[in-house]
Symmetry: C2
């Protein structure tokens, strides 16, 4: 396993960071282009808040944990200035997108914009120790927490007939943010949130009998197997949750949670792996009934890189050979299909057979985040073996 | 061309209507099940308003224009009663979905619910001549018209930075509804709306130079080629628009519009056809840049059946051999892949290669509508040749 470390480090250093350093910064208006075609050319200039703050986070994080680089910190600072100047609405929420020039284009219907702002600002504090970044991280985190009761606000479409459901992603995000805040702000203030969310995710969303991590659960932790939404399974989300659970459970010495998260990861990889063409499905129905999304059988870069992170960490913590086998299997499938050796970076979207359906390197939902985070974490953890 | 008529009629009579007659009606609570698996078993009981009213429309329409059948009228009446009792919110709008029992589940964010209600109620008036159905058709149509200025209401997400855009689908729907109201209510009240919309769609959304029907145009009929939304092309929508344009232009003797709609249809089929695997793409980017939807290259039943309707009508009106060739090409591709000879009805979703990705016969977006409408119209028009 250790021998992979160099490959992950080189890919990050030579094939991924340079692509985004070169093509993403909008040197005229500030912020970043995330809609980058195969060769890095811009095919849309809209500035989607998730993508913008994730780029801020990644450049700042790299400078703190990969190698100190003032240029990356400058790029992150530039993003921060543009986004805090233009992106906040009159209720303190981040809107979902801006025009290239910085005029709000899409309203703040999505609470995860505030989450990625929290991450980006916190990482900038870690990289610079300037209090204004910590202040913005805590402010945005407070906005996210304040939106807990009705996260979608006026844009909520559910009515009384729909049974209230909890979303796994929400608790995974809480766990993620608490960890980032601890690492970046250097406080222990969020330990209790972390410990609580580890158990909550496993208690509420992990169904050991079926071997499935559900995306939706009722408020008392039941699964709505009679509805297609209740049966919705997202193996990539499960992998991402798995490594966050493992990382935090290890940090907090929650041994039972490590065991449970390992079991969850193994069962979900088994469930999500495509026995016919290889790779991990985007979505599945818990009972094998029709999935409501056309693209359920696509193979997405982020699903595969999150699974690499999860299996690498599970192996590091447990040394169980199943995790090394899974890592190698996913590694082979992923690295022989996603990387673009001609123009750099990786393709994002393959069909079930593993052939690219899109040439883009970035878009509304893909930027400088899952792939470099995977390469960063794996090169570190594998080298430490 | 004429020889196909029998095949279309038999498919409707023997393979499609019986499936929905048998599996769709909810005999306990009223309304219909639209989430039907391959064998007709129900995999979700949510009652999506588009799907519900389309089923009402189809059964009523079949009884008026295919063959008189009191059972079909009873099914449509039952749907009408359930939907008018449970589906209307305090502002008179149809909500987007109900639970099986009829409790509102999803709010009225989508204005097309009111449109399909208009169609369903109007067809019931045609089938029964009972005034209450005409009243509801005109009431729902009025609600749709009244929502013109801000169709999404509180659920609108666009802010000042986004240039206001017109949607082709909105005007296509107006055209469609005006035609349905004329045919079903037996008045000429909507002629002016029809004539106006024919020209408006062609003037605003058809770009002759590029040979593309755009989904979005600025308020003065420009195309935003620098944004991915502005470049969004939907060949199935273009085919559906084409036959509505042709039908109405023929009815109103708008000869120039017939010419233009024929040209549009031919260019859009050329653009939308997959030269590698056959079939018509779901979406494309006007300039060949990356499309923003993962599923752009899927092959959907409704796209193909709308293209059959359009080419059949274009051939009937013009007798140009290109349309017969296109009809035959689409017919071959469609009929050798979509029909399910084991359990009846057609598959809805194929991948780019033409292999089914879903076994469902109905769902959140597929019910008893595009396919039977195609079979109904084609058997009629082809027999008249």
């Amino acid at each position: 396993m250790k021998q992979y470390a160099t490959q992950y480090e080189l890919e990050l250093r030579e094939n991924v960071i340079p692509f985004w350093e070169k093509h993403a910064p909008d040197r005229e208006f500030g912020g970043f282009f995330s809609c980058l075609d195969r060769d890095g050319s811009v095919y849309d200039t809209e500035k989607f808040m998730w993508m913008q703050w994730r780029i801020v986070w990644m450049f700042a994080e790299l400078s703190s944990t990969f190698e100190a680089n003032p240029h990356w910190v400058e790029l992150a600072r530039g993003g921060f200035d543009f986004l805090t100047r233009h992106g906040i609405d009159d209720q303190g929420r981040y809107c979902f997108s801006l025009t290239r020039e910085g005029t709000p284009a899409t309203a703040a219907y999505n609470v995860y914009s505030d989450c990625f702002a929290t991450m980006g600002a916190a990482a900038l504090f870690r990289a610079t120790q300037e209090p204004r970044y910590r202040d913005e991280a805590l402010r945005a985190f407070g906005v996210f927490q304040g939106r807990q009761v009705n996260p979608k606000g006026q844009w909520e479409k559910s009515l009384s007939g729909r049974r209230p459901m909890q979303k796994m992603g929400y608790f995974m995000m809480q766990l993620n943010l608490a960890l980032v805040l601890e690492q970046c702000l250097g406080t222990l203030d969020h330990r209790e949130v972390m410990a609580r969310n580890v158990n909550y995710i496993l208690d509420m969303f992990w169904n050991e009998k079926l071997g499935l991590l559900f995306e939706y659960a009722t408020l008392d932790g039941q699964f709505e197997l009679e509805s297609m939404l209740g049966r919705h399974i997202n193996p990539g989300h499960a992998a991402e949750a798995a490594w966050l659970l493992l990382y935090v459970a290890d940090l907090l010495k929650q041994r039972a949670a490590i065991e449970r998260a390992c079991e969850m990861l193994l069962r979900m990889l088994e469930f999500g792996w495509d026995k016919q063409f290889g790779g991990i499905f985007y979505f599945k129905d818990a009972l094998g009934k029709p999935h409501f999304e056309i693209q359920w059988d696509a193979k997405l870069w982020w699903v595969h890189v999150e699974a690499l992170v999860a299996t690498a960490l599970a192996y590091k913590l447990t040394r169980r050979t199943e995790f090394a086998s899974w890592f190698q299997r996913i590694h082979e499938w992923t690295w022989s299909r996603f990387p673009d050796r001609d123009y750099g970076e990786w393709f994002g979207y393959l069909n079930r057979r593993g052939e690219p359906t899109h040439m883009l390197k970035g878009g509304k939902w893909k930027s400088f985040f899952h792939l470099p985070r995977c390469l960063l974490l794996c090169q570190k953890w594998l080298a430490e073996l």
